[in-house]
Amino acid sequence: MNIDCPIPLATEELVRLGHGSGGEMTQKLLREHVFPHLDNEWIRQGHDSATLPLGSERVVFTTDSFVVSPLFFPGGDIGKLAVCGTVNDLAMSGAMPLYLSCSLILEEGLPVKTLGRVMQSMAETAAEAGVKLVTGDTKVVERGRGDGLYINTAGIGALSHSLPVGPQQIQAGDLILLSGDIGRHGMAIMARREGLEFDSPLHSDCALLHGAIGALLDAGIAVHCLRDLTRGGLATALAELAEGAGKDFLVQEPEIPVSGPVQGACELLGLDPLYVANEGRFIAFVPAHQAQHALAVMAAIRVSSDSKVIGVVGDTPPGSEPGSQTGVRGRAVLKNTLGCERLLDRLPGEQLPRIC
């Protein structure tokens, strides 16, 4: 039987929205069209931020752009998001965030009052984070060439401890801690866009996470790896870290908290909460004997007060290499309430609503 694919593929590839989903398409775009031009030892680390030597000190440096629509949503706005996102990226390296830049790309016709509201929100969030916005840039594009307002922030943080934090540090037997319920940010935005209303409204989880991370480190928890859950959701983060660590994870689905409104909105729109974006949640990999202590520390801090152990790191699959793209990879396996197992993959492209 001839089973060649009958469908010829398009010759010229264009950037599609799925390339910005933070999942497999994004990785492929970076691997093929970005990294080859920029190769160096820090890019090769493949983290959301780079840890750099500066004299005798080490600093952490990161950047993030914010293009959310609508600009204001329940639980936050683009300004709060722009500070939280960059502060959280720094915190996930175990750094203390210090300084942020702020670049504004404004669309002709944006009410200056709107800009004022966003800037006030940035200032308030920066004050809460204890970071200073120290430099920036402003550009204006013609009407129709932007979505009102885009923000880019870059941030610098200081590493005051010598603990290595990253996927390679993940060890067999580590427990996986999740800092709270998932899917709030993505569903708050979707519900606003689709005009859905619920009895209890959906609020974004957009929040600063460096306080919780700092508390874990101060308490002497030997944190092996941290990851904030953003685009691609919990599932994509777990799949990427399993691959980066070269280890298998076993995650218990019934332990993953999802609020009623998020679950309801996901059911209505045909989406999987495991793949929905968050802006104020993280997972931490800690040694099993310190897990209860870590949970107690996180419980005392508001953003992580509902932390739970959701899984455990297993052994290295035979023949696997950490970070392997092609060979045997570490896998994230999800065990559901029925005791049945399935693999978690990265989000392939955009999460598209199902037909029925």
Binding site: I3, E24, C340, D345, L352, P353
Partner: protein, 367 residues
């Protein structure tokens, strides 16, 4: 969550699975017709709870998968017109046509929008009188009433800038076609609950008698599916071939009469081309002549190159229950969800995408 948690409860599901295990005494092959059921089966790993002798094969009920290459090419041609706002359900956007998909057309400048309802497209037409709004009306009997309603409303509102690109499919002729195939392995069917919520299940009675296989109208939650399977294997073990209704909380024998009457007013039965399967008589819907002005094919007359045929594609074999996705040499290799070679790898309801996402062997590494 209320009305869902009850149907996902561990103890009830394990109890039903045990009953299926107790009932089955020899090998049986059952087809779940609907892609939504396939999705639930692989997502919840229900096969892991069932006896090895019971094989589930996945039917043709994935609307994205059965939509022909020709109609996708025509959709892309219409979407590329500068005056057109092309609206579609989300999953259709990534189905490859002969040369790219609707998302690529969007990246190249077409105004393509994912909407949740055809009535949203009607509203867009009202709000944008200077644009031509086209809705990609695809799917089975489930989505057809809302699409019929869109045409009905557009006529009542005298909208001249709204049209439907219709590619509708009917389930019973597909079951008939599978039952008639000489090499069919399927011994019993789970019919799609939501299709029957609209149409009822009277039209399945002659099919069950003619082919002597049981048909159980089944819902979409894990408990529904296991109960449907149990009802089906009980009949098989007893040598019966009746139509039974597992999904009684949503389905009545004669269906939803207002929805059926809306369908009847707007659409008529026509021959339909199933991707990977071929042409099946009386298996589709087209707009009645009274609604011809809302037919996007008549309005835009898209000209496309003759599409490559699907004759070599294994998707037809999968949708007829002859092969499983993992039988395809491209599965999980060249053909992946972010780079689909065929339609069943696109929608989460497509058997290949569902398999890829949820049920690649957990015990072996496939990359």
């Amino acid at each position: 969550m209320k009305y869902l948690d009850e149907y996902r409860q561990r103890s009830s599901i394990h109890k039903l699975a045990a009953q299926v295990n107790d009932t089955v005494t020899r090998p049986w092959t059952i087809m779940e017709v609907c892609g939504g059921q396939t999705h639930a089966i692989v997502k919840y790993g229900l096969q892991q709870l069932l006896p090895a002798q019971l094989q589930l094969v996945h039917g043709p009920g994935c609307p994205v998968c059965v939509t022909s290459l020709e109609i996708i090419d025509k959709a892309i041609a219409i979407a590329a017109r500068p005056e057109v706002v092309f609206c579609s359900f989300g999953d259709m956007l990534r189905v490859p046509g002969s040369n790219g998909d609707l998302q690529s057309a969007k990246a190249a400048g077409a105004d393509v929008r994912a909407v949740y309802s055809p009535l949203h497209a009607v509203r867009l037409a009202e709000e944008n009188p200077d644009r031509e709004v086209v809705f990609f009306a695809i799917g089975f009997e489930t989505t057809a009433p809302a699409n019929a309603m869109a045409a009905f409303l557009a006529r009542r509102k005298r909208l001249r800038n709204f049209s439907l690109l219709v590619s509708h499919f009917l389930v019973p002729p597909a079951i008939e076609s599978i039952g008639s195939a000489a090499d069919s392995r399927v011994q019993g069917f789970l019919a799609a609950g939501h299709v029957c919520a609209v149409m009822g299940y009277e039209e399945y009675l002659p099919l069950a008698s003619k082919f002597r296989f049981p048909i159980v109208v089944t819902g979409f939650e894990p408990l529904d599916i296991l109960e449907g399977i149990l009802m089906c294997v009980r009949q098989l073990e007893q040598g019966k071939h009746e139509v039974q209704n597992q999904y009684a909380r949503a389905v009545v024998r004669s269906g939803n009469m207002p929805a059926r009457s809306m369908l009847e007013q707007v659409f008529e039965v026509a021959t339909q081309d199933w991707r990977g399967v071929g042409s099946i008589g009386n298996s589709g819907l087209q707009l009645r002549s009274e609604f011809a002005e809302f037919d996007a094919l008549k309005k835009f007359r898209p000209v496309i190159a003759v599409p490559e045929t699907d004759s070599g594609c294994i998707s037809g074999q999968i949708m007829l229950g002859h092969n499983k996705p993992s039988d395809c040499p491209h599965f999980g290799r060249e053909c992946r969800p972010e780079h689909p070679l065929g339609a069943p790898m696109v929608s989460t309801e497509g058997a290949c995408a569902a398999y890829h996402r949820y049920s690649r062997q957990v015990s072996t590494n496939e990359h």
